[in-house]
Symmetry: C2
Subunit: 564 residues, 2 copies
Amino acid sequence: MAEARDLFKEFKVQSVSEFFRRNAAMLGYTGKIRSLTTIIHEAVTNSLDACEEAGILPYIRVEIEELGKEHYKVIVEDNGPGIPEEYIPHVFGKMLAGTKAHRNIQSRGQQGIGISGAVMFAQITSGKATRVITSTGGEIVEAWVKIDVQKNEGKIVKKLKHPNPKGWRGTRIELEVKDVKYVRSKQGVYWYLKLTAIANPHAHIELVEPDGKLVVFPRSSEDIPEPPVEMKPHPKGVMVDDVYTMAHRSKRSSVRRFLVSEFSRISDKKVDELIKYITALRLIKSETNKEVKEKLYEKLVSGDVDSVLRAFGRKWKKELEKVAKIMDKSPEKLTWHEAEEIVEAFKLMKFLAPPTHGLRPIGEENIKKGLTSILKPEFVTAVTRAPRVYAGGIPFQVEVGLAYGGQIQGSEILRYANRVPLLFDAGSCVITSAVRSIDWKRYKIDSFDSAPLVVLVNVVSVHVPYTSTGKQSIADIDEIHNEIRLALMDAARRLSFYLGGKFRRMYQVKRRKTLEKYLPEIARSLHILTGEPEEKIKEYFLKLIESKIEVEEVSEVEAEEAEA
Amino acid sequence: MAEARDLFKEFKVQSVSEFFRRNAAMLGYTGKIRSLTTIIHEAVTNSLDACEEAGILPYIRVEIEELGKEHYKVIVEDNGPGIPEEYIPHVFGKMLAGTKAHRNIQSRGQQGIGISGAVMFAQITSGKATRVITSTGGEIVEAWVKIDVQKNEGKIVKKLKHPNPKGWRGTRIELEVKDVKYVRSKQGVYWYLKLTAIANPHAHIELVEPDGKLVVFPRSSEDIPEPPVEMKPHPKGVMVDDVYTMAHRSKRSSVRRFLVSEFSRISDKKVDELIKYITALRLIKSETNKEVKEKLYEKLVSGDVDSVLRAFGRKWKKELEKVAKIMDKSPEKLTWHEAEEIVEAFKLMKFLAPPTHGLRPIGEENIKKGLTSILKPEFVTAVTRAPRVYAGGIPFQVEVGLAYGGQIQGSEILRYANRVPLLFDAGSCVITSAVRSIDWKRYKIDSFDSAPLVVLVNVVSVHVPYTSTGKQSIADIDEIHNEIRLALMDAARRLSFYLGGKFRRMYQVKRRKTLEKYLPEIARSLHILTGEPEEKIKEYFLKLIESKIEVEEVSEVEAEEAEA
């Protein structure tokens, strides 16, 4: 029998990079096509986020050069704010380093793992460092970055500096990758960029494919999206661990100040109410008569905290003082149990709905512009719903676009979360199930699968509830499912109205043509019967047809107006 | 427009614990039922691995106490080797710390993330530290462990020591968890332990359910599985990055010594051959005549390296000397390009198949014992196939068990990887597709879905190719698919043989009963016609029936023997 100490002799600590080197699939590096898409996704996401935060209209160029069999050079260049020199090794070479994970902000990327994951994937397949060329407006820095996997640290293996007479700002990265494949499939780079362009009409995106072909997804909107802002968490949207962890990291002078400053919708008055609720909960728990206990709890749920307190006679004042003291102490002294009491009270209290000013939908106009410029449909419409809340306190917003006919062939569901296209795991996504749940026949779409119809759905939230670690599908949460359905039905009604007009027009045109076809014969027969000249009879009938069968020569523009 | 430097002001580094706190789903903490199963899985896996490494017959007790609504205490106790005191904070409180990730060893757990993930999940849902009671034979240590999430470090919040007069060895951990649910479903704890017991007949596993009910899965085999051994990687199973990384971490004196010592199937003679192959590849690459180049490459692929070298006249000796120098230098000086050359040559060279002595299947006898003791079927059989190789150099082994009838109701596929039950993502698993691909009708199973049939499949490998990060389904690799099918067909033939006998017997019994039913009437009629006494006629016919319709009173044991 082996001794424990011998068994532990080989105990070692791995770095997080080493872990993800062994588990690259966790970061989306699985399969030759998907791995290439993941690299592009990480780079383009960083570019779009950086431009948005800096208030710049993005100009993004992606180049994919084939260097050999399953061996490519990937270049992504943007006109973003650039990366200060001292941050280069961290941004590209250190996992879990970034600006966003600790802020409550809606953005595409979040973990500070994406682009360093791409650098690592390039490194473990080709052995090559990633070349970064960047400038924040001053001199241009050119650096080759590698990851020291054992230490999880970025290493600059070579660095050059260049003058920048024209004041160029932006970042260009070049990665050499093996074991990947460029294919124009629905899970490949081309499709990913096309979908990204649709959801980001303010971005100019271009792609040079390995065969040298240039594909341009031009900018169709000049509106710079407002930079996202941080939204403090709502009391209904936090777990005990959140309150406890936040309190222990807080620099505020008291629990009261911590609650008022670091949450949304909590005022000093609300803290006073919180004290009452915690006191009431404590007193109710101490009550031994089960019937009384239940009645008091019901009263508390109904919001009548004062009469619950009064029910305990003089006892409550003493308890209230105790609870009030919690609010005065330093937040790092908040105990787990107290955090539990706070969250329990939050659940019973009423608060204003969470702020939603930080949500950044694409917007109806921009969805229409994106769909029109990329897909060239004959009809387009979009619906951006008002923000809602799921899980009690997490704000989200749904928007939907429909594009019909024109150059569209067959149906397609374009899924997005915070404007990022979701290409995988469509089957388990709430967007798919919501779109499938619509009775499209009611909206003059006989068969969804064969209609020339593209459905775009974008779910916007600081916390998108993904089903899996790959972040490729959204969980089936009732509130989100319903919002998508409502948005879809609204948009589908407009489509149906348009199709109604269109089908009526097509029917009328057909009927008129049929009548006109028989007109010469009828005219001839009547001429023989009545002796009237054929031309006169024809003219008469033509006028009759025109007056009876009015062909509505409404333009697409009018049709769109009609739907509004 | 914002300046880059302002945007980077909030740049921070997260710890790996912080990352997994935010992404607990990556570790299997998703859904109330699955989260509880994940905790049990992590604890039981650690216990089984520890017992196996130490050569102990495992005795594992799981207790689940309900403390409140969706609030449980989980206790897992084993008789393993125990944990030395100084390792307690690392084992339970530090992610990515462990003994196995850096070794090529077949084991259930691997990442050094599992049990600390469970400790963290308990902590972020209940706020409570995990209580650990352990002894390696000396005094008993009782410690309460928490994770400092920001630092990814274990913290002992309280520690006691107790005398150990009876010399107890083992580990008991107690976790308090909220937001989970105990349900007796197919993805719950009961089912997980039942499946674990089937695949580990050498383990005694018992479970105290929240209602106090004790469920015992008794040990049915006294064989202690041999402890797993490390298997060095095979030259055909490594990527460039593996060779490069291994070389740079190696302490050997030369690249030659590194290759011979740290790979399987590489001898000094093989290194000499490798030198020739690399030389030949270099020379072929330098050849400008395309036709000659292709011919020489073909010759090299066919294995005739010597005549390729000779084709270059005297040139080759000089090049060979250069390549030979690579083998003499320190492994940490190996360049990426040289590692590429080595792997390219490995692909063309012939090696003995990888060693498989480190693979640890359950074994046919043990599968039969496990299935019989837990499921009480009327028939059971098992097939353990010889080890095979996938992806050129990664050894794996498949085994299959079939249990039919008896107390089994309905069909079931029990999937395992290295003896660990896979409960989720069945749809995308090669085991499911292989079982479904069998034409069960050919084996006297009319409808697989309604037959009283349990199919167990265990895939054993140092590198099980999981499809997803949740490690709940195995990728559809041809070699593995085929092996599962072959094993299944072999086992199914035995089942079919048994059922053949069984159905024949049932048919005979039925026929005899029919005849016997009409016997009194026939006897009476013949008695009237012939005058012979009824009893005599009856007796005569009974003898006739018995001689014609032989009812095989073969026992189950005989049937099993017959199949061998």
